[in-house]
């Protein structure tokens, strides 16, 4: 009875030792793996830092300006003038919405020009012009701003949030 019990105990002991050893071994392996990954992460992080510094160096405004000057012949870049900046609300109407001058029925082109230059003296033409809305008395189309733009100030420059 004792002998079988002993054997059982010995068996349990050996198996416990084996299990413990495997667990320990696996833990060691995992630890080594973790260390390896940590080293890799550290290396990657350092590389990211280095690349970020490199990116900052390459995108320096003064460097870009220098490059623009050097390659000026090919790029043909010029500074944006303040007169070249416009808001969406400042754009004129679409071409399709442009008011058409009235069809000069039964008139030659010369007549139409003559009547337009004669202006308001020609009451007949002036009254016809008035019916077409967006025309001035002289029959010249007057630009209307494009339909109201939602959120007028849509230009952002990224520097200052206003």
């Amino acid at each position: 009875m004792l002998r079988t019990f002993d054997l059982v105990l010995v068996g349990v002991m050996i198996s416990a030792a084996v299990v413990t050893y495997t667990i320990k071994h696996r833990a060691d392996e995992k630890l080594a793996e973790v260390r390896k990954l940590e080293t890799e992460i550290k290396l990657e992080k350092d590389t990211i830092d280095l690349l970020r510094a490199d990116w900052a160096l390459l995108t320096q405004p003064n460097r870009l300006h220098r490059l623009v000057t050097v390659y000026g012949d090919e790029l043909k870049l010029v500074p944006t003038l303040s007169t070249q900046l416009a808001q969406p609300s400042e754009l004129p109407m679409l071409r399709s919405q442009l008011p058409q001058p009235p069809e000069p029925e039964g008139m030659s082109v010369e007549d139409a020009i003559a009547s337009a230059t004669a202006g308001s003296n020609d009451t007949k033409l002036a009254s016809r012009g008035a019916t077409t809305g967006g025309l001035a008395s002289k029959g010249i189309p007057v630009p209307q701003p494009r339909a109201s733009v939602l959120g007028v100030d849509t230009t952002t420059t990224g520097s200052v949030n206003r």
Binding site: D49, L50, W55, A56, N62, L85, A86, T157
Partner: protein, 579 residues
């Protein structure tokens, strides 16, 4: 123990009885044997039990430790001074201004070097400028450690590793790197060889506790949260480029420019020339370290007339419609105050401002009085040391005792030396509705700015000053700074510099204090140029021809970046399409 000793006693007695019993009596022997078997059994039982109990205790403890929550403790490893990190400095858009990069330094252990000549020969293939003689002495010495080269690039490191030289190794190090070089040198500052901030915002970061941490050895190589500054790298680059191009154009000895948000006091860009490369600060040590913007004091000249006029208007003793007789020079205490662009007639307040009349301005200051004048300039912060994050801030100088002649000369900007940055800050207060806001190099919201702001002039005075700046910008000396669409208003100042105690007429300090768009100012721009020369070589360069065009260049290039929208037309209507 008593349990064990009892077992021992039993055992010794049993042994005794067995030996004696065996010899004397057979029956006793039988009994003894049986008894011994029984005893052995019980002993085994006891031992088995005790072992079981022992292992149960161990097992129980293991389970107990397994169930227990791990106690959170931390320990700070002895800090590696070479690896201690500093926070990155970023601009307001997150562009890197200063960062840590990991470098390695090459060292050798001479006692482990096999062939010194071979090692040097191999190293020189990667580091061609390695000093062969010095390195030979180092490597053949009896020491156990020698630095060979500090701060190598990763590429050089891998090349040296590939050479496979025994007895040399690498030690990681952190090095501060400024990608912009000199672009923002005076704002960012630089660090010394121990990675301590010694100038600019680097020093400010240290003074906010980082230095104490380092001293306690509590900094680690863990990255710290980056510090965001208020400057915009693009604007900063424009400022620096403009001032350098004008220095080249006018052969000036120095120049500077600042862009300041009038509502928050944030500095969007500040450049001062000459400057230096913070990556290599020793090289610029001669001249470049002086930040003329905040650490140099100058007599600001006629730009001060803005403050005199604002003072006169703010007291209510002078109205914008008033006139002063500027026909005759003022003679006081052996001095004669004349006008440079003298008109020789009675001038209204806007005309005094437009023609930059010394006589008219002096008379306006006279209305307020000496003490009132001094108090007003003090209130605007022009006579006291400015409070901001930058450590390099100079103390303005003023006469020890204000006399009438001092008040008169100070009214047009002579006799008081102040820093250009301070002048810009006070100028911002004139146009933003009268709030004096300390300048800051860190981002600040409008609400925060209002909390620290002090009302120095009435909003109505500020409105008058905007009118005057606009007037001078369209009709007066500020015309050269006008940019289409961005109404620039400002005041020029051409001051004679003091040479050997006398005002020299051929050495000028030119400044231009501007705000744009002047109808609702968002930014104040101040430029100055020190001793410019015109191409004629007569040395009489006026601010209207030097500092004002600088402002024009700066605004036309940076206004869109700063988010200011151009407005065209007299009534500010935005239609610019013409048929």
């Amino acid at each position: 123990m008593s349990f064990l000793s009892r077992i021992m006693v039993h055992k010794s007695r049993a042994h005794y009885s067995v030996s004696t019993g065996g010899v004397t009596d057979h029956a006793a022997f039988e009994g003894a044997r049986k008894k011994r078997a029984g005893q052995a059994k019980s002993r085994v039982g006891i031992i088995a039990l005790s072992f079981t109990a022992f292992y149960c205790v161990i097992g129980g403890r293991l389970v107990q430790y397994g169930m227990e929550k791990p106690e959170i403790v931390s320990s700070i490893a002895p800090a590696d001074r070479l690896m201690a990190s500093r926070p990155d400095l970023l601009d307001r858009n997150g562009e890197v201004l200063a960062t840590d990069i990991r470098t390695v330094s090459l060292f050798a252990e001479p006692h482990r070097i096999v062939d010194v000549d071979e090692a040097i020969e191999k190293l020189r293939t990667v580091l061609p400028d390695l000093d062969a003689r010095g390195t030979y002495q180092k490597l053949s010495s009896n020491s156990r450690f020698q630095w060979l080269r500090r701060q190598l690039t990763p590429k050089q490191q891998s090349q040296i590793l590939a050479l496979g030289i025994p007895g040399i190794g690498f030690r990681p190090e952190k090095r501060r790197f400024y990608p912009g070089g000199a672009t923002a040198s005076h704002i960012v500052g630089h660090v010394n060889i121990d990675n301590r901030g010694v100038a600019g915002m680097e020093r400010y970061v240290d003074s906010q506790g980082l230095a104490d941490l380092t001293a306690l050895g509590m900094t680690t190589d863990q990255p710290l949260e980056p510090v965001k500054l208020s400057i915009d790298l693009r604007v900063q680059a424009i400022l620096r480029e403009v001032i350098y191009s004008w220095i080249a154009k006018t052969e000036a000895i120095g120049a500077g420019a600042v862009v300041l948000d009038v509502h928050t006091g944030e500095v969007l860009g500040m450049a001062s020339a000459p400057d230096y490369d913070p990556n290599n600060p020793a090289e610029g040590a001669k001249e470049g370290w002086l930040n003329r913007m905040s650490n140099g004091t100058f007599e600001m000249g006629s730009t001060f007339k803005s403050f005199t006029t604002a003072m006169a208007l703010d007291t209510g003793k002078v109205r914008i419609t008033d006139s002063f007789d500027a026909s005759a020079p003022i003679r006081i205490g052996g001095f004669t105050i004349k006008d440079f662009h003298g008109k020789g007639r009675v001038l209204s307040v806007p005309e005094i401002f437009q023609y930059s009349s010394n006589i008219g301005t002096a008379k306006m200051a006279d209305v307020v009085g000496i003490q009132g004048h001094k108090d007003f300039l003090t209130k605007l912060g022009l006579l006291t040391r400015m409070k901001t994050e930058l450590p390099e801030v100079a103390m303005p100088t003023q006469p020890r005792e204000w006399k009438k002649i001092n008040s008169i000369t100070i009214s047009f900007g002579h006799g008081v030396s102040t820093t250009p940055l301070q002048t810009a800050v006070a100028g911002a207060a004139l146009v933003n509705g009268g709030k004096l806001i300390e300048p800051t190099f860190l981002p600040r919201s409008r609400a925060d700015a209002d909390a620290v702001a002090t009302q120095v002039i009435q909003p109505s005075t500020s409105k008058d000053m905007r009118f005057l700046f606009d007037w001078n910008g369209t009709k007066g000396s500020g015309r050269n700074a006008r940019v289409d669409g961005f109404d620039v208003g400002g005041k020029t100042g051409t001051a004679d510099k003091v040479v050997n105690g006398r005002y020299a007429h051929d050495k000028n300090f030119n400044a231009f204090l501007a705000a744009f768009p002047i109808s609702d100012p968002q930014y104040v721009v101040l430029t100055f140029i020190d001793e410019p020369r015109t191409d004629k070589g007569n040395g009489a360069a006026l601010a209207g021809n030097t500092a004002a065009p600088m402002v024009k260049e700066i605004i036309s290039r940076s206004a869109a970046i700063l988010g200011v929208k151009p407005k065209f037309g007299e009534d500010g209507s935005a239609l610019l399409v013409s048929y």
